[in-house]
């Protein structure tokens, strides 16, 4: 179904636009069938259904007002630069807060235990992972301006960071074990040293796996939220549509007598 795409439609969040496009397309078909059943010719029914169902510029403007994201309402009170700066600070804040939260397990290490050297890159990957997830959730849920390409990029980045976190943690544990084994074969190691190695390595692995699990959960939630919000693009009836053929906007209530 080829339907008009007034510029005002662009103001609607993409997910809403897609769902609305489907609704309009289905109603167009339904109205056509109903009017045909009422005895109109195919041409008459089609023209009547189009006039009834296809939104004009005024209707799109009203729809954009109804579906205005909360972010847009709040952002209007500030300059675009101030909003951008706040958003950047928020992303940095999320990453910083994640690092602080992750510092907790470091302090929880037992006496005599030392954190593994590879714990720092694991924490860094975890902080970036949290920032990517927070940024994607913000664009999808608050700003409502996420497009499929951006969401795909976010999902790929999340997946890659989950893999990197597990890889760094695993490689770090392997390197620690290798170093400890080399030391143990050169000279006898004490029980406290063995316990410290065990504690550090277990801690590293637990941290990496915990972060990866959290990231995977975030990825799963994000994937579902994106699918729900963006829908199936293959069924987007607004893509490649001709300009509006309804230059005559009417009142929402048309009274005739």
């Amino acid at each position: 179904v080829k339907t008009p795409t007034p510029e005002t439609a662009g103001r609607l969040p993409l997910g809403v636009r897609l769902r609305l496009g489907r609704e309009v397309a289905a109603d167009l078909e339904g109205a056509y069938e109903e009017l045909r059943a009422r005895g109109l010719t195919a041409e008459q029914a089609w023209a009547r259904a189009r006039a009834l169902v296809l939104p004009d510029a005024a209707a799109w403007t009203r729809l954009a007002r109804v579906h205005r994201p909360l972010h847009a309402v709040l952002a209007d009170r500030f300059s675009a630069r101030a909003v951008e700066r706040t958003e950047r600070l928020a992303v940095i804040g999320v990453a910083g807060a994640t690092i602080l939260l992750m510092a907790g397990p470091l302090l929880a290490l037992g006496p005599g235990s030392a954190p593994a050297p590879t714990l720092v890159p694991v924490f860094a990957a975890g902080a970036i992972l949290a920032a990517v997830l927070a940024s994607a959730a913000y664009r999808l849920l608050a700003r409502s301006d996420a497009d499929p390409d951006a969401m795909q990029a976010h999902l790929r980045a999340t997946f890659a960071l989950v893999a990197i976190t597990v890889l760094v943690g695993g490689m770090g544990a392997l390197a620690d074990t290798w170093v400890f084994a080399a030391r143990a074969s050169a000279q006898p190691v004490t029980l406290p040293e063995t316990m410290a190695w065990l504690g550090g390595t277990a801690h590293l692995l637990a941290t990496a796996l915990g972060l990866a699990l959290g990231g995977a959960l975030g990825w799963y939630v994000l994937l579902h939220a994106a699918t729900r919000a963006l829908g199936d693009l293959a069924r987007d009836p607004w893509s490649a549509s001709p300009p509006s053929t309804h230059p005559d906007p009417t009142l929402s209530l048309e009274m005739t007598s």
Partner: protein
């Protein structure tokens, strides 16, 4: 109480949709066609003007929309919620009062006219 014409028109639009759903769930196009035929062509939603009304009512919780499959195609169907039903009753009374007042004024003016 001052009546804003813009608000009144919006309320009438919403009332037409709510009353159309009183007897059961309907698709958007069915609401538009039914309002037009039930009013003998006096009221009609043209050029998709129904959708902002439907979506606003849905957002306000007065109607609920759900996708259903019929005839091989998924279509959105709207139903009146309990909140919508009480809003319909309340708004009908309010509109009745407004129309009664209007007629009172108009007929009074007619009676006074020479």
């Amino acid at each position: 109480v001052a009546v804003e014409m813009q608000t009144l028109l919006r309320d009438v639009n919403e009332l037409l949709v709510l009353s159309s759903l009183r007897d059961g769930a309907k698709h958007g196009y069915q609401i538009a066609l039914d309002v037009e035929s039930d009013s003998g062509g006096m009221f009609s939603f043209q050029h998709g003007t129904l959708y902002p009304i439907l979506h606003r009512l849905e957002k306000d919780g007065l109607i609920s929309g759900a996708w259903s499959r019929g005839g091989g195609r998924r279509r959105k169907e709207y139903t009146l919620t309990p909140r919508g039903r009480s809003a319909l009753d309340g708004r009908s009374r309010t509109l009745g009062d407004i129309v009664a007042r209007l007629l009172q004024v108009v007929r009074g003016a007619e009676a006074e006219a020479p």
